[in-house]
């Protein structure tokens, strides 16, 4: 969990703690994913700091997630044959890892 200034909040981040009114009543629940409009709304409410979920590690270590993200990560490198080779190599690597994890009965 990280506490960050609202100015650094990005769409996609998830709230780790609810946003509450001064009397403690929650107005936005924990787990809600921030969007551009939600961030603007919080800004309008005078909120200056939010707690966001740091699930950095889980997503990083999930090989299925890694495979899915390759296209996005390599989106501007399509013309480079070497980078195409690198991407293929990584796709193979993470696909095998995902299969191995599945076979071991673990969650990826």
């Amino acid at each position: 969990m990280q506490k960050i200034p609202l100015s650094l909040a990005q769409p996609g981040m998830k709230l780790a703690k609810p946003i509450t009114k001064a009397n403690g009543m929650p107005i936005i629940a924990a787990g809600v994913e921030l969007s551009e409009s939600l961030i603007s709304k919080l800004d309008g409410m005078g909120i200056d700091k939010v707690f966001i979920v740091g699930d950095a590690v889980a997503a990083s270590q999930n090989p299925t997630e890694r495979v899915t993200r390759l296209d996005h990560l390599f989106r501007r490198l399509g013309d480079d044959p070497f980078m195409a080779q690198v991407k293929r190599h990584l796709r193979e690597y993470f696909t095998i890892k995902a299969a191995a994890d599945a076979a071991a009965g673990e969650k990826g």
Partner: protein, 288 residues
């Protein structure tokens, strides 16, 4: 004699005066280190005077990034096992943690992840003193912090360019500032008297084939940066892959298959490494 760094935006400069201050002990230690008769014990004593700093350093050096996880119980041991260059790098890094975390979310994690990846690359390439390579990875993005702190408007503009034009942070920097963080890094390394190996890595990790004296350090940091981004651990300012330089792999004498071993090691050690962060309990009194 270092000068202030002029950006391409009129009147906006990076000034030496406004650089983050490094812990006082570092100055004193750097002086001590110049004297050939100084013992490791003496250096350790000086560093240990800053208890808050020492605690942070010990937390960092006991992570799997540096070859002896869980074995280092004192600053003196850390000096004996890792050498002064590594400890100095760790000290610098921990002392900018606060600024880093408050100006670019995720940059600390990206830096620590890069340290892990770069060290693993060095080990796979069978290079000597892999921890020195780790430190290259740890410090490779310091320049981004300096720009963020001193030129917040331009920093914001860089972020905008990344978002609106789908640029990599490095490309956006060049468009807005006229140069990238690699140039700022070189400037910083000179001002802070960092060893030439680390300076080369900091200033040439985007173009390792241009590295003059220490191509292996630059190449390892380059590949380390590539790897931490593949895993999307932390945030270096954008969500794009580094265009990997085939030259870098040649310089290191490794192949794509060698990278598999590094990828394995990275995933395995990531959970432990992610614990290397400093919460309010580690904070310097007075700062939040």
């Amino acid at each position: 004699m270092e000068e202030d760094l002029k950006t391409s935006a009129k009147g906006q400069i990076l000034s030496i005066r406004d650089l983050p201050t490094l812990p006082k002990v570092l100055d004193e230690v750097s002086r001590l280190v110049q004297n050939p008769n100084t013992s490791i014990e003496a250096i350790a004593k000086v560093i240990a005077r800053d208890q808050v700093l020492s605690a942070k350093v010990l937390k960092m050096v006991n992570s799997p990034v540096y070859g002896f996880p869980g074995r280092i119980s004192s600053i003196q041991h850390s000096l004996v096992l890792l050498g002064f260059n590594v400890i100095r790098g760790v000290i610098i890094s921990t002392s900018v943690f606060d600024i880093m975390s408050s100006t670019m979310v995720g940059l600390w994690e990206h830096s620590v992840g890069c340290a892990l990846a770069t060290g693993l690359v060095a080990r796979q390439a069978k290079l000597k003193d892999p921890e020195e390579y780790s430190v290259c990875g740890l410090l490779h993005d310091l320049g981004k912090v300096v720009a963020a702190v001193q030129l917040p408007e331009l920093h914001k503009a860089v972020g905008e360019a990344v978002r609106t034009q789908d640029l990599r942070w490095f490309e956006a920097e060049k468009a807005v500032l006229g140069f990238g963080h690699d140039r700022i890094n070189a400037w910083l390394a000179d001002h802070w008297h960092l060893p030439p190996t680390i300076k080369e890595a900091m200033s040439s990790h985007h173009h390792p084939e241009r590295a003059q004296r220490y191509p292996q350090h630059a190449a390892a940091a380059h590949v380390g940066d590539f790897i931490v981004r593949v895993f999307e651990y932390g945030n270096g300012g954008d969500d794009q892959a580094v265009p990997l330089s085939p030259q870098a792999l040649k310089i290191l004498g490794i192949s794509l298959s060698d990278l598999d071993v590094v990828l394995d090691g990275f995933a395995e050690n990531l959970s432990e490494v992610s614990g290397v962060t400093f919460g309010p309990e580690d904070a310097v009194p007075g700062k939040g």
